[in-house]
């Protein structure tokens, strides 16, 4: 039973050579009534924080949408230029505060590229385990928020948080903090995983497939979810690539681009896993890609927890005090749960970076928000926005 209603987006048959093909379509209001201008946010409950969309409505139909950012701007990048490399590690937790461990990894990876630092094998496995646990809890809560925005207040979100809480307990046992983990270091990790922690992690991972099965049984063929999500907020693959969309959103449009497979950073080339892709690029595909990515993460976790070798978690030659990289620059990126998270660093030989730049997936995925929303109903805007999966701490930096 599928409701694939073609409505909303009018980007059909793109000619990728024509000028302006990648701009949002111009929607002509059809009635004679005046356009209604609505500022959605910055304190709207569906905006995941402080974010505003300036909408122009023709009846229920959206004819213009301009996102407004900056309510949470604290010039993260300038703080970095005034502090040392290591002192920025806890600040990266605050970018995408749901996935602090992936942020740590991306930053550590960029600095390691900048100084040519190697990482011991055990630390690489630890990073993979933590990054995949992070991905599972991010996708679970992203789906929970999406359902909440559909109007199912509270209960489904608490279902999603049930398993997320177990993962956060693991993080707390290892790093001392549920969300602000501050765990990775340049050349390894801060503390080792104990055997008891690994056993606990195996137990939690063993419970995850049952949780996803239960969740899917409740949701995947739910009539309301299908009616609201299928055929809504379609994103075409050509536009997705051109607009720099990454992560589950790009793969839901059918583009096979997963940095774990492309860059082989860390030890991802040792694990067998598949990259789920969507065919329609609508909200339902984004939901489904996230569910399937959770399943693939469990596959990776099972392999990593089985094969994790012994040894040090920190390169003994890694320099910690007086850390001054030689002049040069590096761009390091990882497949964070929300998309490509990159760090671009320029060193002039000093103790703090000359230039420190975060490539935020949340902000760049919002580039196509207007294209996806134009022509659809204002009620769908909430859902389309929810399916992008953003965190304002990273959008505004």
């Amino acid at each position: 039973m599928t409701h694939l209603v073609e409505r909303g987006n009018s980007i059909d048959a793109m000619d990728t050579k024509a000028a302006g093909w990648n701009r949002p379509p111009i929607i002509e209001p059809d009635g004679e009534a005046e356009l209604l201008e609505v500022a959605m946010g910055p304190h709207h409950p569906s905006t995941h924080g402080v974010f505003r969309m300036d909408l122009a409505l023709d009846g229920e139909r959206v004819v213009r949408l301009k996102p407004v950012f900056g309510y949470l701007h604290r010039n993260h990048e300038q703080i970095a230029e005034k502090s040392s490399y290591l002192a920025m590690m806890p600040y990266t937790d605050r970018l995408d505060y749901i996935n602090s461990l992936s942020n740590n990894w991306a930053y550590a990876l960029a600095v390691e590229k900048l100084v040519g630092q190697t990482v011991p094998e055990r630390a690489e496995y630890i990073r993979v385990i933590l990054a995949e646990l992070t991905r599972v809890q991010n996708h679970a809560s992203a789906i929970g928020f999406l359902i909440q925005e559909m109007g199912a207040s509270g209960t489904p979100l608490m279902y999603a948080f049930k398993e997320r809480e177990k993962i956060l307990d693991l993080f707390e046992a290892l790093t001392g903090s549920r969300m602000m983990c501050n765990y990775m270091r340049f050349g390894g990790c801060r503390v080792d995983m104990s055997a008891a922690w690994l056993d606990g992690a195996r137990k939690v991972v063993a419970g995850l497939p049952g949780f996803i099965d239960e969740y899917e049984q409740l949701l995947s063929s739910n009539e309301i979810l299908m009616a609201r999500c299928q055929g809504v907020g379609i994103l075409k693959p050509e536009l997705a690539v051109n607009a720099g969309v990454t992560g589950p959103m790009l793969r839901a449009s059918g583009v096979n681009y997963d940095l774990r497979k492309v860059d082989h950073y860390g030890v991802y080339d040792r694990f067998k896993f598949r990259v789920p892709l969507g065919d329609h690029g609508d909200i339902y595909d984004r939901y489904m890609v996230r569910v399937l990515e959770m399943r693939e993460s469990i596959v990776i976790l099972n392999q990593a927890l089985k094969e994790i070798p012994g040894g040090p978690v920190m390169d003994p030659k890694a320099k910690i005090r007086g850390f001054r990289p030689k002049p040069g620059e590096a761009y390091g990126r990882i497949e964070a749960p929300k998309g490509e998270l990159g760090f671009y660093l320029i060193s002039d030989g000093g103790t703090s970076p000359y230039r420190y730049r975060v490539r935020p997936p949340s902000l760049i995925n919002l580039t196509v928000l207007e294209d996806m929303c134009l022509g659809s109903n204002v009620a769908d805007v909430v859902l389309i926005f929810g399916s992008v999966d953003i965190v304002l701490g990273e959008v505004d930096r």
Binding site: A19, G116, A243, G244, P325, Y331, E340, Y344
Partner: protein, 231 residues
Amino acid sequence: MKTVEEIKAAIEAAVPGAGVQVVMNPGPSAQHSLLLEPSRAVEIATFLRDDSELALDFLSNVTGVDYLAREIAEKVKVTRQVAKVVDGVEQMVDETVEETRKHTQTGYLETVYHLFSVEKKHGPVVLRMRTKNRTDEVELPSLTPIWRSAEFQEREVFDLYGIVFKGHPDLRRLLMWDAFKDHPMRRDYVEPDDFEYEPTAHDEVLLRAKEHKAALEASGATSQEGTGAAL
């Protein structure tokens, strides 16, 4: 994937007189970059995107960098003729002396673009463009018509660094509010003097708040709304 020199040769074959320079990266990451002539950048970018071998269809990262004007001291070896007495006879002899010469390099703003290929799964190719100076000639061409992902990122560079992108469809501030005057990521940025908003001013902050208040009263101004430090 092609090396930077090969990409440079390919660009020069496709866009005659492109004037591309290679900027070497001395660090271990070895991500070398190509410095583009701003007037030809759109042509070069279109070629890089549409070329079947490079197919750089994905612009990942756009950012700005600020380089202040700086004094460069160079040690130069100078040879000159000096009169000397050799074997009791006065002769003109060449003598090499080391001299320190100083010159000022004008500051400039730079944009950096990191390109990847989703189709061919390679990258990064790093492009750079530089403005003529930091004050009045800060225009660079926008690459948003070629890669849409530059739209918000170029707005951010415009906001925080003050580079004006010609051809950008919607160039407004992204993170700061519209009435804000300065560009906070510039290296000589001075924070606005708004200590009157400090809720619990104490110690050093209290002192600065008092100074600020006195300065305000002296100038006769009443409100400070939306003022950054003057450029």
